[in-house]
Amino acid sequence: MKRLSEVEEGKYKIVEILKPGKTKKMFNLGILIGDEIEVKKSCPGPVIIKKGNTSVAIGYGIAKDIIVEKVE
């Protein structure tokens, strides 16, 4: 398990979100714990993830609090 800010591009599953208050907006965008996402662009700079037809850019400040797990 790694932080979203540390991972390479590829497919991941969101395992945990450390500061839910800060990430409320992510939930609002429909990205939830347990979701499978695809990392399209990794740090440095904002991480770009994709779930279904939604692409979201997440700044380092939030990405470091999102724990993900590699999906083979």
Partner: protein, 659 residues
């Protein structure tokens, strides 16, 4: 004629504006929501025997009162009678739009879902069983392709039919036995009648919408309710607001899955992904971003400036033309020096402002704004700003007015206020004539270097002020970036033009009034009490100039002409130059100025002109965007910082020279 009110709601990037434009055409007006500085768009149309007033609500994902936009949406929906609420849904992101639908259904509104951009469904190779969706969600669905005007008549018909029918059945999600019990318990504890359905209030409390709870805190026994929530959270080990969100999405996901019709796989959106790869790359991204901004400046410069010159020439000729009429002297002066100058400065603004609005609209419509935010986020964050601040900041080097308007893409109010406060320090193109005049006289060898140093100084002062204000007022930490990347699309020209035209018109109307009345006041001060000596020290304006020149002594230019020039610069900064021209009268301006300024005081004067205060138009737009209080703060702060900077510069140089 019967009148009905229609609200248009929806997530950002769903084509809400396109639908709004398609319904109302050009019959719309822009204003502000009462008490706040968020833009409000209204329009109307007539269908059959009903006149429909359409209100475009701010784009939202949820109904949490976390941002000003969302608060407005909730306030509007709860306080006003809305006959029909149209939710514009992005066909490819249906689940998220349905999430909003579920939230809004709790408010017992008459809802129609406008499934927009259905042409993209085909590309994606899917479709929806609309009949089934309607049955499960208890609302009507209409398919549209807003940018091709397809389905708009169906939508109008459906809205009409909805107005004629009475509804009493609303979608209510079942959140499962445990939570339903909790909701019932909270409702039991809510012994008051509210503007909202009680179930909505109960859900809001469970969602821990702090601002909402605060607004009703004197009506509920929050401690008791909190106790109940605490217990259930302990039992399931998760926070209740998260459970609610997950439950809703789970149910919606189930519904969509049940109603989706998979066809053969169509073309995926590989193109967007490929373009994104280049646009957001750490190397090519910033390069492209800077090139685009540079291109915009070049185009505005090469199209806008000739038009501006042409307009100014026309105004000048009109002024000459008036001389043939032999009007009474005072009237002649009022028209030529007061009215025409005032109107002239507004009009000469227009081409550039329209062009900046136009390009901003295009960037927004194509989806590039989000990419620009990503590219500049890292740098901006280091400066204490949000990634989305970069475009307004860059635009501000062209003109501060559209730049400040561009900050409306910043969702967080703190980000917006701080960006707005730093923008007036960015050296707009109206300040350039001042630099050109002075550097042309005193710094011929190093002209471009000196001018560049002023741009840099403005940037530094802007960023420092922002950091300072952030520290004083907000204990500021810029909100971390999290934005959706809408798929790229061709700009929809109708939208782009309506949008920029409406904005320009709004600017012309409102800023025009202020600038115009300001110019009348200035004329009055320049004309009286000695009409024959317009704008000289024998008139009030000169006396004020004299008064102002007292503190200006420490900056090295303590004479009344400088004071007056700076006063006129409030209209528009380029007027500083023409005012010097008038005040020093005949003879070569360059030679005359050499008698008044030294290189050091000339540079000090340029610092002052750069910083001393936002022009009237900027001040007005600041007031509109972030409120009167902040506009005043910006005004006095820049006055202070302008004086301190120019004085410091002058005194240090004089000291070094002397010592």
């Amino acid at each position: 004629m019967e009148e009905k009110i229609i609200g248009i709601a929806g997530n950002p990037n769903t084509g809400k504006t396109t639908i709004f434009n398609a319904l109302t055409g050009s019959k719309q007006k822009i204003g502000n929501w009462p008490g706040v500085t968020v833009e409000k768009k209204e329009g109307e149309y007539i269908y059959k025997d009903i006149k429909f007033h359409v209100v475009d609500l701010p784009g939202t994902y949820t109904l949490l009162e976390e941002s000003e936009d969302q608060k407005i949406a909730i306030d509007f929906l709860t306080r006003n009678k809305v006959d029909v609420l149209v939710i514009v849904a992005d066909a490819l992101n249906l689940e998220r739009s349905l999430y909003l639908l579920v939230l809004l259904s709790e408010l017992h509104k008459n809802i129609i879902v406008d499934l927009n951009m259905v042409d993209l469904l085909e590309k994606e190779g899917i479709d929806y069983d609309i009949g089934h969706l309607e049955k499960l969600l208890k609302v009507k669905f209409v398919k549209t392709i807003g940018n091709r005007n397809i389905g708009i008549d169906d939508l109008k018909e459906e809205i009409y039919r909805n107005c004629k029918e009475k509804r009493d059945e609303y979608l209510e999600f079942n959140y499962g036995a445990e939570i339903e019990k909790l909701i019932a318990e909270i409702i039991n504890n809510l012994n008051f009648s509210s503007a909202y359905p009680l179930r909505f209030v109960a859900l809001k409390i469970l969602e821990k919408d702090e601002k909402f709870i605060k607004s009703i805190s004197n009506l509920i026994d929050y401690e008791k309710i909190n106790q109940i929530i605490f217990e259930i959270e302990k039992k399931c080990g998760k926070s209740i607001d998260r459970i609610l969100i997950e439950k809703r999405y789970a149910i919606i996901h189930g519904i969509v899955k049940e109603c989706i019709i998979l066809k053969k796989r169509g073309l995926k959106f590989e193109l967007t992904e490929k373009i994104d790869k280049i646009l957001t790359d750490n190397l090519t991204g910033p390069l492209i971003f800077l090139s685009i901004m540079f291109l915009i400046f070049c185009i505005v410069f090469s199209i806008g400036n000739p038009i501006q010159n042409l307009l100014e020439l026309t105004i000048e000729n009109f002024r000459k033309f008036l001389s043939y009429f032999h009007l009474p002297i005072w009237l002649d002066s009022l028209i030529k020096n007061g009215i025409i100058s005032g109107v002239g400065s507004v009009i000469s603004f227009l081409p550039n402002i329209f062009l900046y609005f136009l390009f901003f609209s295009i960037l927004e419509d194509t989806g590039y704004i989000a990419r620009a935010a990503i590219v500049s986020d890292r740098l901006m964050h280091k400066l204490g700003l949000h990634g989305k601040s970069s475009i307004p900041l860059i635009l501000s080097f062209g003109c501060n007015v559209p730049a400040i308007l561009g900050t409306r893409t910043l969702e967080d109010k703190k980000d917006k206020i701080l960006t707005c406060l730093s923008i007036p320090f960015m050296s707009c193109s109206a300040r350039l004539p001042i630099y050109i005049l002075f550097t042309g006289i005193f710094f011929i060898k190093y002209q471009s270097l000196i001018i560049f140093s002023l741009y840099l100084l403005g940037l530094i002062i802007g960023i420092l002020s922002m950091k300072l204000f952030g520290h004083i007022f907000f204990k500021y930490e810029s909100s971390p970036l999290i934005i959706e990347l809408p798929p790229f699309r061709m700009p929809y020209w109708r939208n782009v033009f309506i949008d920029s035209w409406m904005r320009t018109k709004y600017f012309l109307k409102k800023a025009g009034t202020i600038i115009f009345s300001g110019s009348l006041i200035l004329w009055f001060l320049s004309y009286f009490p000695n009409p024959s000596k317009y704008g000289t020290e024998f008139n009030w304006i000169g006396k004020i100039g004299n008064l102002i020149s007292i503190p200006l002594k420490t900056s090295g230019f303590g004479f009344w002409q400088a004071g007056v020039a700076l006063i006129f610069g409030i209209y528009a900064k380029e007027l500083v130059v023409s005012t010097f021209g008038t005040l020093f009268g005949t003879g070569n301006l360059q030679d005359v100025l050499k008698g008044y300024f030294t290189p050091v005081s000339a540079y000090s004067f340029m610092i002052m002109s750069l910083l001393y205060m936002p022009c009237i138009a900027t001040f007005w737009i600041l007031k509109k965007e972030i409120g009167f209080k902040w506009a005043l703060i910006s005004f006095f702060w820049s006055l202070l910082i302008g004086w301190i900077s120019s004085t410091l510069f002058y005194q240090i140089f004089i000291f070094l020279k002397g010592g």
